[in-house]
Amino acid sequence: MDIKSTKYYIYWLFCQFELITCSYLMEPWEKLLFYTFNITMLATLLYTAYVFVPGHICSAFQFFFHLFGNQHENTVSIVK
């Protein structure tokens, strides 16, 4: 069953996260605190990426377009 092995894989990844960050050893209230902090940080990161990254990519694209000097118009004139 593909769903079962994917679910087991995700559970295994979660176990690895727990072992590496020592949250396996924490008491339940500490785990709550730690996961809340992590999820908040992750959500903030994703929200910032959603808001700002397209704008950054557009301005980077425009910068490189002007740097390589309007090649689009040149090629059109030669073909014509």
Binding site: W12, E18, I20, T21, Y24, E30, F34
Partner: protein, 516 residues
């Protein structure tokens, strides 16, 4: 008489040791784990200091608050916040003989390892991979212990005296003669406790004005004995003969620190097998260095006597050298002989000196007779003096078990430290979270292991240490190896980058091509 070694080198057989380093991401993740643990440790300390949480551990009283703080150093911080969380994996009480399988008392905790209570049940037949039972002499078989019961009924259990007063029995004299014969030296002396043998006899042999060159990873008993003696101590890198030679040359050229006189004695303290690394000392090179620079050699064979060598006589036999090359041969009876106590063996002058000058002989109670008889019967079995070949069979079985266990673990892809012939097998775990998970899950599968972390090992190299025994059958080792395989996949412990395929039997099918 042999015709000589083929290419004339010091080593008659190949010396293969592994100390593989894990990939970089493992070290980074280990530090990450410790970082998170430390942050939560500070949080908990803050809560305890401000009264938000009950204080379970020792703290200072109100009147002591203005004095020097007692519990602020890193070791206490680590104990309170990290060790306490996984404390249930150590000090587990056992309730049977520590043979290849044993019984554990079941223990639960209600408040996260601050207190334990026993449920009253025992966990039966847990496979024992932690006891130092190399030759399997920790047994309760009535036939094997016949002589011990006779001596127990003849002498009782207590000695009630020290060696120099009225504590030397005929059993001790018999045992000392037997130990000297076993090792091939002139004389030997036995003591009641192995740790005390080192810590009480090194001060008798060296004093102020002498130089001790001690290996980096020596056992605490050797370190304590060296410090108590008052001699100057210099440390050389673990099993590194170049480092030792540099120190020896400096010692002989420059002499004592301020007066520049020659050192009264230079003694080198090493162990036969190092119990945390599983490495064997480079004895041929060491002996040639010692002869060149005229130093003395003190070899602590606690883990190697009975466990290595063709007939179990330790590292001296393993390398094919003569026992006259080592000045002081020390060992313990705790590991391979199923008893307690230690011995020092060597030339007759040395042992006579120790009989009069050792602190242990003057003040410590001597070995009790049933224990001495157990050692005598184990040694007679090893030497073949009881008429059977059982001793040699045990040594061979240990060698086979060791090689099989290490080979399979290497094939599976774990990082194992140490020499290929040493029965001590450290398996590296690295991350603090995995120490607890590993030990608990192995116990659920009915296998008892010993895990070691800081401060016994460097902080990033925590490990699980297996002690292979001659009493383990192939089935037991296979059970353990299968459990390790599963657990290694689940906990992602197979860090080795040099392993061969983990399931070689799948690739050994012969391919037959038929013409069609």
């Amino acid at each position: 008489q042999k015709n000589g070694v083929s290419n004339g080198t010091l080593y008659k057989k190949t010396f293969i040791e592994h100390f593989e380093q894990a990939p970089m991401y493992v070290a980074v993740l280990t530090f990450l784990g410790f970082g998170v643990g430390t942050i939560f440790g500070y949080l908990r300390d803050f809560m305890r200091a401000w009264g938000l949480e009950k204080r379970n551990i020792a703290t200072e009283r109100e009147e002591q608050k203005d004095f020097v703080p007692l519990y602020q150093d890193f070791e206490n911080f680590y104990t309170r916040n990290l060790y306490m969380r996984i404390r249930d994996n150590w000090n587990r009480p056992i309730c049977s003989v520590p043979g290849p399988q044993f019984d554990l008392m079941e223990r639960v905790t209600d408040d996260y390892n601050w207190t334990f209570r026993f449920t009253g049940r025992t966990i039966k037949n847990v496979i024992n991979m932690g006891s130092y039972n190399y030759l399997g002499f920790a047994e309760t078989d009535v036939n094997a212990l016949k002589t011990v019961t006779i001596e127990l009924q003849k002498y009782g259990t207590g000695i009630c005296s020290t060696r120099q007063e009225m504590g030397t029995l005929d059993k001790h004299v018999e045992l000392e003669k037997l130990v000297a014969k076993f090792l091939g030296v002139e004389d030997a002396m036995v003591f009641g406790m192995g740790f005390a043998t080192n810590s009480m006899n090194i001060p008798a042999l060296v004093g102020k004005g002498c130089l001790i060159l001690s290996d980096e990873l020596n056992h605490t008993s050797l370190v304590l004995g060296a410090r108590l003696s008052g001699a100057t101590i210099r440390i050389f890198k673990h099993n590194n003969m170049q480092s030792l030679e540099t120190l020896l040359r400096d010692a002989i050229i420059y002499g004592q620190p301020r007066s520049r006189r020659a050192w009264r004695k230079i003694i080198i303290l090493v162990e036969g097998i190092y119990s945390m690394e599983g490495s064997i000392v480079r004895l041929p090179e060491l002996v040639s260095l010692k002869k060149k620079y005229k130093a003395y050699l003190y070899l602590d064979e606690a883990h190697s006597i009975g466990a290595v060598g063709a007939t179990g006589r330790g590292v001296v036999e393993y390398f094919g050298m003569s026992p006259d090359d080592v000045d002081v041969l020390m060992g313990t009876f705790t590991k391979s002989f199923g008893a307690a106590g230690g011995y020092i063996a060597g030339k007759k002058d040395l042992v006579d000196f120790l009989r009069t000058h050792s602190h242990s002989a003057v003040y410590a109670t001597s070995m009790c007779p049933p224990v001495a008889e157990q050692i005598i019967r184990a040694m007679k079995c090893l030497m073949g003096l009881d008429g059977t070949t059982q001793g040699l069979q045990r040594v061979r079985q240990l060698g086979k078990n060791t090689r099989y266990f290490r080979r399979r673990l290497h094939e599976m892809g774990f990082i194992i430290y140490g020499n290929d012939d040493s029965p001590v097998v450290p398996l590296l775990l690295y991350m603090p979270g995995k120490i607890g998970a590993f030990a608990r899950r192995m116990l659920e599968k009915n296998i008892g292991v010993v895990v070691v972390g800081f401060p016994a090992t460097p902080i990033t190299e925590s490990r699980a240490r297996f002690c292979v025994s001659a009493a383990h059958t192939r089935e037991m080792l296979d059970t353990v190896l299968n459990a390790l395989d599963e657990l290694g996949d689940f906990l992602h412990l197979k860090y080795s980058r040099y392993s061969k395929s983990s399931h070689p039997e799948l690739y050994e099918e012969t391919r037959l091509e038929f013409e069609d």
